[in-house]
């Protein structure tokens, strides 16, 4: 498969206010694509459209070669998703939540138990496994959500601010695990305001501004296009491109 995630001409409006004005990008297996943008640029709407939580007004989305609009089940069966808001089942324990997600995905717990246990250990969640998610801190719930997305070893990962609330050690674990999945062939698209993580994790980035991708490529390519200099950071590029008239 040449492209695991394909987005073409995505358009979406809310109450006649356009949010996405023709977003297009693609992610190949093994790539980690960082979708960046200022607040309100449309990142969450884009990512929700990828997994069918939001229906675009126009455009085409394919995951693992399946059109999300017409073959939703097949598309989502190879996808893992981490939502923007740290929302979970307050009244379920972490263990119950992960078991529930595995059941919803049609997976037998025995199939995923070892991998889940490994992730739980990596993220140091062992002592929270029997605690209700409503009692946990935001970062801890976020880790549980990340594990729920990774547990099936998906071919496509869609993650919206996945490290929100996580401590630095957990962010490092997250980066290593996502990189490992990408090396195994997963295609990852994530949004994040933590540009430090994006620089270390993403192989390509796309900057979304006012509903369109204004630039994309590897971090070096984007830096060259923005002409911010070799020693400039991703933050410099981001601020230049989104603050003013673009490049």
């Amino acid at each position: 498969m040449s492209t695991a995630i394909l987005v073409e001409g995505l358009v979406k409006s809310y109450n006649r206010v356009p949010v996405l004005r023709g977003v297009s990008f693609s992610v190949r297996p093994g790539e980690v694509y960082g979708l960046l943008g200022p607040n309100g640029a449309g990142k969450t709407t884009t990512l929700k459209s990828l997994v069918g939580l939001v229906r675009p007004d126009d455009g085409r989305i394919e995951l693992c070669g399946y059109n999300v609009a017409t073959h939703r089940l097949q598309a989502l069966s190879c996808t893992g998703y981490v939502p923007e808001l740290t929302v979970g089942f307050d009244y379920l324990s972490v263990r119950e939540f992960l078991e529930f997600v595995s059941s919803l995905r049609g997976l037998r717990w025995a199939e995923v138990e070892d991998y889940v246990e490994r992730l739980v250990n990596l993220f140091e969640l062992e002592r929270y496994m029997d605690e209700f998610m409503g009692k946990l801190s935001r970062g801890t719930v976020q880790k549980a959500l990340v594990i729920s997305a990774l547990m099936s070893r998906p071919k496509v990962l869609v993650m919206d601010e996945p490290t929100s609330g996580m401590d630095p050690e957990s962010q490092r674990v997250f980066r290593e695990e996502v990189s490992r999945l990408a090396r195994e062939g997963a295609a990852v698209v994530l949004s994040s305001h933590l540009l430090y993580n994006v620089e270390r994790l993403c192989t390509r980035v796309g900057i979304l501004h006012k509903g369109v991708i204004i630039t994309e490529g590897s971090i070096d390519e984007v830096r060259r296009k923005a002409a911010t200099g070799e020693n400039s950071t991703l933050e410099d590029v981001f601020l230049l491109l989104t603050r003013g008239e673009g490049y």
Binding site: K48, V51, G52, L53, V54, R55, L73, L76, S77, T79, Y81, P83, L85, V87, G88, F89, D90, Y91, L92, S93, R95, E96, F97, E99, F100, V101, S102, S103, L104, R105, G106, R108, W109, D130, F132, G134, K135
Partner: protein, 507 residues
């Protein structure tokens, strides 16, 4: 009634006893007015000899509020609940005085009750017109009194909480509370009735609440009582504004944190891995609610109480007319429907993203949501049906849940469709006390009204049929027909709801 008094009311056995007494009083107040307001109604001699008069009911009402305040003083929390997370995290970080915050919060809560009392007023108005006086004055006084009653009660409980906060390093609140209870108990025994120490603090709310239903009380007296309530409420709010300075934002805590600590979520871990998606979804949506042992226990207790109440009323020869029963039934079902749908919103619809994402089908979710809502309705109807079956000695009433099912299914569809539509347009606030804001509160009121109206219709229809049917066989045939129609309606409703959940955006 008292948001920040939640803990003593729910956690402590004394608080539970007060809550049970309040509930029994509420039931009695609904059942008793028709013969009280007739003025010369033939009281059962047992009640008369026991001193159950309008004034004694007023005294009991006032005493209940006083005891609630004292319990808050003795066992209440030393903190005030903030309903919304933003109320605590954002508002209190702004230059807002504690007086502005606490008074504003109290006023807001009281006027919010105005929305929830609309159905109560809706059903009370025809009662007042029919039994008391064909005039708009009493319904108006009743409607205006309700938020003031909430304001007065809430302010008093808030003041008790402030006392606990201010004197948190001493045991003075507990000692004062116990001493007050002991003194008022002794005085009550001495005078062979409830002591003014118990009745006077709550007297301002008792008058408007009870006397409005009494023909013996003229309009002038009602207006005076209303003005007394208004003046008392203003005075208590002014006192609250002055005494608010003893608090600090540190004494304010988000409600969800308090609920968490109250251990409401304590339960045994369950295995949620299941071979089928349907099974897993059912375990979460139904298994942790309507089929949990706790819920079944509560339903069983309710059924027992309903039967017992009917037996008691029959034994005491208390006549309760159909209109009153229908009014009570409608209010009860409407309240239950609103509470259950708010619960559904917070627990189930707020996690819609997960159900839309992973399961191969949305049918298990749709089915479970409809089942849960319909079961809440059926349980309420069963309580009413059992009461009528025992009270009227007409077993045909037991078929009420089945004959009412078609309309209840339609109401279920309408409610869930509305909730899904709202959930698709607004982000549900995770830790909001209800999951909704003002616009949705109005929708919740409409849902409550719809549920009440539906209940009135089904109760009236079944009443007619029970009254005029020629035998149990006819009722059984009606129930069978109703059951078949319900199966068809269920299928259609499930498909409609499925489509709505499938096509809605998840915000």
């Amino acid at each position: 009634m008292a948001k920040n008094g939640l803990n003593p009311l729910l956690k402590r056995s004394a608080g539970r006893a007060v809550l049970a007494l309040l509930f029994a009083l509420f039931v009695f107040l609904i059942a008793v007015p028709p013969f009280i307001i007739r003025g010369v109604a033939p009281y059962p001699s047992l009640l008369t000899n026991a001193g159950l008069t309008r004034n004694s009911i007023k005294d009991a009402t006032g005493a209940t509020l006083t005891v609630t305040i004292i319990l808050t003083l003795i066992r209440g929390r030393r903190e005030i609940a903030a309903s919304e997370e933003a109320e605590h995290e954002l508002l209190l970080a702004l230059p807002v005085t504690m007086a502005e915050y606490l008074v504003g919060k109290t006023l807001y809560f009281s006027f919010q009750t105005l929305f929830y009392t609309i159905p109560l007023v809706f059903f009370a108005t025809p009662l007042l017109y029919t039994y008391v006086e064909p005039s708009p004055t009493r319904p108006l006084i009743f409607m205006l009194s309700l938020p003031l009653i909430a304001l007065y009660s809430e302010t008093l409980v808030m003041l008790a909480t402030l006392a606990r906060i201010a004197l948190s390093r001493t045991r003075l609140p507990e000692v004062t509370g116990y001493a007050y209870l002991a003194l008022s108990g002794i005085h009550s025994l001495m005078v062979s009735r409830l002591s003014p120490l118990l009745t006077l603090p709550g007297a301002p709310i008792a008058g408007p609440m009870i006397d409005v239903f009494s023909r013996r009380v003229d309009t002038y007296t009602l207006v005076v009582e209303f003005l007394l309530l208004l003046a008392s409420s203003i005075a208590m709010v002014a006192l609250l504004a002055v005494l608010s300075r003893v608090t600090h934002p540190e004494n304010i805590r988000p409600l969800y944190e308090m609920l968490r600590e109250m251990g409401l979520w304590k339960r045994k871990t369950v295995r949620l891995s299941d071979a089928s998606i349907d099974g897993a979804v059912r375990k979460v949506i139904l298994g942790l609610s309507i089929t949990s042992s706790r819920h079944l226990f509560l339903v069983g207790t309710g059924l027992a109480f309903s039967s017992l109440l009917a037996v008691v009323l029959r034994g005491l020869n208390i006549s309760v007319d159909a209109l009153t029963l229908s009014s009570f039934g409608a209010v009860f079902l409407a309240s239950e429907a609103t509470i259950s749908t708010a619960f559904t919103v917070q627990r189930d619809l707020s996690n819609l993203w997960l159900y839309r994402l992973y399961p191969a089908s949305l049918k298990p979710l749709t089915r479970s949501l409809m089942t849960k809502t319909a079961v809440y309705y059926v349980e309420g109807l069963l309580l009413l049906a059992l009461f009528r079956a025992v009270y009227d000695s007409r077993p045909a009433w037991l078929l009420l849940p089945i004959t009412a099912l078609p309309l209840m299914i339609l109401a279920t569809l309408l409610i869930l469709s509305t909730l899904v539509r709202i959930a698709s347009r607004r982000r549900l606030v995770r830790y909001s006390s209800r999951g909704f804001y003002m616009v949705e509160d109005l929708t919740a009121t409409a849902i409550m009204g719809l549920s009440g109206l539906t209940a009135i219709i089904v109760l009236a229809l079944h009443e007619l049929f029970v009254e005029y049917s020629t035998g149990f066989l006819n009722v059984f045939m009606l129930a069978t027909g109703s059951g078949l129609i319900s199966v068809l309606l269920w299928k259609i409703s499930e498909d409609i709801l499925y489509g709505q959940i499938w096509y809605s955006d998840v915000q």
